[in-house]
């Protein structure tokens, strides 16, 4: 098993390196540079911009910039963010925990909610409840994440103001609250973006899980369970669900990229100070090191998520452990 993990980690390292290289080249080839964006003021001359470009080595040929960047990466440095005037490591180091918190809550929430919906649908398959839940799942599955986020923002902060508008904490009062109030404040701010992301992701889980449950219901062991006199609920929970969870475990790995990109939009709408918020802004301002740094962290998260899903799959299905 350890050898398998080592091989997968080596593969992941290669993937991340290739993704980083491609991103570096593409973002540098895009027109504009970090110092061309802030020029609404006619007094900022091109000479000043040229000085800044030289200071940050942006006047050097692209291959040379790439070698210098690769060298800094080898030494554990992700470069310097032009737009934040901080090291990329510091910018992402602050943002990553917020993104992981949002993604983590949404991951647990979406799988929990998705599986619950699927169980209800299968228990009442063919009923009005089943059709309504199917319709709702399809609705959220097909809804653009930014649109749902704006709708949720308007609905629950403006028309029905039960949640704060955005941010990770109350920017005015948080620092002056007691510990309990600060935790509550953080949870209140987390609620709406997490619920939005959960709703978006749970729809897919519900649909996959429903299909997987329906696949296992005709199996012999389910029929045996019925003959033993178990209730339909017990059969679903104790026999069908366990066996139908395997495809969902694969979905955990696949959902990482979707959650990450979804989180990007959600973060922007809800002013959640996570990685997506930082990286989306970095693309617009041509903050090359921050974009590449964000892509590296993102690809690490995705490859590790995929590895985690494979390991969980192997753990859940004894037939795969020998491979």
């Amino acid at each position: 098993m350890l050898g398998y993990i080592a091989r997968r980690l080596a593969q992941a390292a290669v993937i991340v390196a290739v993704v980083a290289a491609i991103t570096f080249v593409l973002i540098h080839l895009a027109p504009g540079d970090p110092f061309s964006a802030v020029i609404d003021n006619p007094n900022v001359s091109e000479k000043v911009r040229a000085t800044l470009r030289a200071q940050y080595g942006l006047d050097r040929p692209l291959p040379e910039q790439f070698v210098r960047y690769a060298n800094s990466l080898v030494h554990g440095e992700l470069g310097w963010s032009f737009s934040h005037d901080r090291s990329v490591r510091e910018v992402l180091g602050r943002a990553l925990p917020n993104t992981l918190l949002l993604m983590g809550v949404a991951l647990v929430g979406s799988f929990g909610l998705g599986i619950l919906i699927a169980l209800i649908q299968v228990a009442r398959r063919g009923s009005v409840t089943d059709h309504v839940l199917s319709g709702l799942s399809l609705f959220f599955f097909s809804m653009p994440d930014f649109w749902l986020a704006i709708l949720a923002l308007l609905a629950f902060t403006y028309w029905l103001p039960i949640f704060p508008v955005g941010g990770a904490v109350d920017p005015v009062m948080h620092e002056y609250m007691g510990l309990g109030s600060r935790i509550l404040d953080r949870l209140r701010h987390l609620a709406l973006p997490a619920i939005t992301l959960t709703l978006l992701a749970s729809a897919a889980v519900a649909r996959y899980q429903r299909a997987a449950l329906l696949d296992v219901l005709p199996a012999d062991y389910i029929r045996t369970a019925r003959l033993k006199g178990l209730t339909e609920g017990e059969i679903l929970r104790r026999h069908a669900l366990r066996n139908a969870l395997l495809p969902i475990i694969s979905l955990i790995g696949l959902s990482f990229p979707a959650l990450l990109t979804g989180a990007f939009f959600i973060e922007k709408i809800f002013a959640w100070p996570g990685m997506g918020y930082a990286v989306v802004n970095a693309i617009a301002t041509r903050d090359y090191p921050l974009v590449v740094g964000g892509v590296i962290i993102g690809s690490i998260m995705v490859t590790l998520g995929s590895l985690l899903a494979d390991l969980l799959y192997a753990w859940a299905d004894p037939r795969l452990r020998s491979h």
Partner: protein, 573 residues
């Protein structure tokens, strides 16, 4: 040369005394102002900052030697109020000004402000290793000497009407003892860049990136304590989120409402709106040189009569009304109405579609019918109008212009671009036409760089359309060299008339910025170049305060007490 107007100060003192007597109890200090803003400040070093959010914060943390008043009169020193310098003396030849530093002025860390801080500020800003965007603005300042710790003498290369403005306005004073041991290349990375120490009426408390910046009243400030205890910028990158924060009362102030937000704000009786004349103008700029061969004129816009016809075919009043409703006016030219040097009755090329059609016909650009695109020698009268897709207002302007020029038989292809891409095209002069916007300073002199020959011929110039007219240049130079206000205005008027008639751009709009604020807040006048200039005089009556107004204005909020990291490691020299 021009001694300070003590009479003016006396009147100001008397006025303040009257106001203080009238409502001193109601104006007790306290309260929190929460501002909804769309972005993080870039950096909190006055000589390096470029974002408007950073300028707002730095202007409140750092003081200048003197500050401009609301008239924006920048000729000599009559339009300025003492700040760090309590008095100043002009040399006999006017090539130097000796500023006396207010003996009560202190940095927020308790160190007195001294003349060496002034010398250091100017020397470091001029240092090319720093790459300060403000460096080109103080080229007329040769150096600063310090005959004693309380006197800083500015030496100028030449006498100019705005040399006092250049000396005091362009650069707030920075503390030498904080920065002197850090190499210029290490300033951006330094701890001090994120925890600024200034001498203004507000001192820095904290900056949580992408969330908030907080300032607190400096109660021992040499200018007196400001009315509001705290000012907090609440940051949300999405416009709707920032607006919703304001509408729901999470913040008290929204700095730029869009026309479509006005109706929504009016639904809230507790909210107010106020307009002020901002220093912005928008225009559709033509590239007068051929993008593929800069030595040749543009095949369409190289012709002055054609440009005038395009302007004549544009109903600017209708466009502005459609986009801004009552929150904008047709632009007068490459200037704004807030400048005392701008004549609001500048003659314009009138909207006259039949006449525009006649001119185009006479130039050989003809069409078989009014719905077809004109052409000449097989070449259609068609061009691309580039616009940043992220600016809703500019896209609207482009689409309306496209429709109006269509009626004249001109085909316009609107090209929405990422902002950096548009800037790159403009810098390389690789565009046909573009919707541009300049946000200018209190000095109208920026027009020389953005529309003058000097800004056209060098690759570093901001005159992207390459408009060149020596008559215009001469009038601008004469205006900028004139000490007589009437003469200065007359020269600028001649310059503007020249460029308006040459039509290197269609002067589209001059927005009137509308701010939104909570009714519990009492505002001071909003200065056109900086609405935040008088925040120290804003106040919240005691009976209108809410819980957040009573939060302690502490320099050590919980985040700092808990050792929260708020900045980068030590700089790399």
């Amino acid at each position: 040369m021009a001694p300070m107007r003590y009479g003016r100060i006396l009147w100001a003192v008397l006025l303040c005394g009257c106001v203080g007597t009238e409502s001193s109890s109601a104006r007790s200090s306290g309260g929190t102002l929460a501002i909804s803003t769309g972005g993080d400040p870039d950096i909190l070093i006055p000589s390096l900052l470029q974002s408007v959010q950073a300028a707002q914060i730095a202007d409140m943390v750092f003081d200048r030697l003197a500050d401009i008043d609301d008239s924006l009169d920048i000729v000599d020193d009559k339009g300025f109020t003492p700040r760090l310098s309590d008095r100043w003396t002009w040399s006999r030849d006017s090539l130097s000004i000796a500023f006396h530093i207010n003996p009560n002025a202190k940095w927020h860390d308790g160190v007195p402000v001294r003349s060496n801080d002034v010398r250091f500020t100017i020397a470091s800003t001029k240092d090319s290793a720093l790459g300060s965007p403000a460096a080109p603005l103080i080229t007329n300042i040769d150096s600063v000497t310090t005959p004693d710790s309380a006197t800083a003498v500015y030496w100028f290369h030449s006498r100019s009407p705005q040399q006092f403005y250049d000396a005091v306005f362009q650069m707030p004073i920075m503390p030498e003892h904080v920065w002197k041991d850090i190499a210029p290349t290490g300033w951006r990375a330094s701890e001090a860049a994120r925890r600024p120490i200034g001498s203004g009426q507000y001192r820095f408390v904290r900056w949580i990136p992408r969330a908030a910046v907080e300032l607190a009243a400096d109660s021992t400030n040499y200018r007196g304590a400001p009315k509001l205890s705290r000012v907090i910028w609440s940051i949300a990158p999405d416009f709707n989120t920032a607006l919703t924060r304001f509408l729901t009362g999470e913040t008290d102030f929204f700095e730029q409402l869009r026309p479509e937000n006005v109706a929504e704000v009016r639904k809230h009786p507790e909210l107010r709106m106020k307009q002020y004349r901002a220093l912005q103008y928008l225009f559709a700029q033509f590239n007068l040189r051929n993008p593929n061969d800069r030595d040749r004129p543009h095949p369409i816009f190289g012709n002055r009569e054609l440009r005038r016809a395009l302007t004549m075919a544009t109903d600017r009043a209708t466009i502005v009304r459609s986009v801004y409703d009552t929150l904008g006016l047709p632009a007068l030219g490459p200037t704004v109405r807030a400048y005392p040097t701008t004549d609001p009755n500048l003659p314009q090329i009138p909207f006259d579609l039949p006449r525009a059609r006649q001119i185009l016909d006479s130039l050989g650009w003809r069409a078989p019918d009014t719905n077809s695109t004109r052409s000449r020698n097989g070449r259609p009268l068609r061009f691309t109008l580039s616009v940043p897709g992220t600016s809703k207002v500019r896209v609207q302007l482009a689409v309306l212009l496209q429709e109006q020029l269509r009626k004249a038989g001109v085909r316009v292809d609107v090209e929405q671009l990422d902002f950096p891409v548009l800037i790159e095209k403009e810098r390389k002069r690789a565009f046909d036409a573009a919707i541009g916007q300049w946000s200018t300073q209190p000095s109208p002199g920026a027009v020389r760089g953005s529309w003058g020959t000097a800004g056209s011929r060098t690759a570093s110039g901001n005159n992207y359309g390459s408009y060149e007219n020596p008559v215009f240049d001469a009038y601008v130079d004469s205006a900028l060299a004139s000490f007589n206000p009437a003469q200065r205005k007359a020269f600028f008027t001649k310059a503007y008339e020249t460029i308006i008639q040459d039509a290197p751009a269609i002067w589209l709009a001059e927005p009137r910025v509308t701010v939104g604020y909570h009714s519990r807040l009492e505002l001071a006048p909003l200065r056109p170049d900086a609405w935040w200039a008088h925040i120290a005089a804003w106040w919240i009556p005691a009976d209108k305060r809410i819980p957040r107004d009573n939060a302690p204005a502490s320099t050590t909020p919980a985040a700092q007490r808990a050792g929260q990291k708020t900045s980068t490691p030590t700089p790399t020299p």
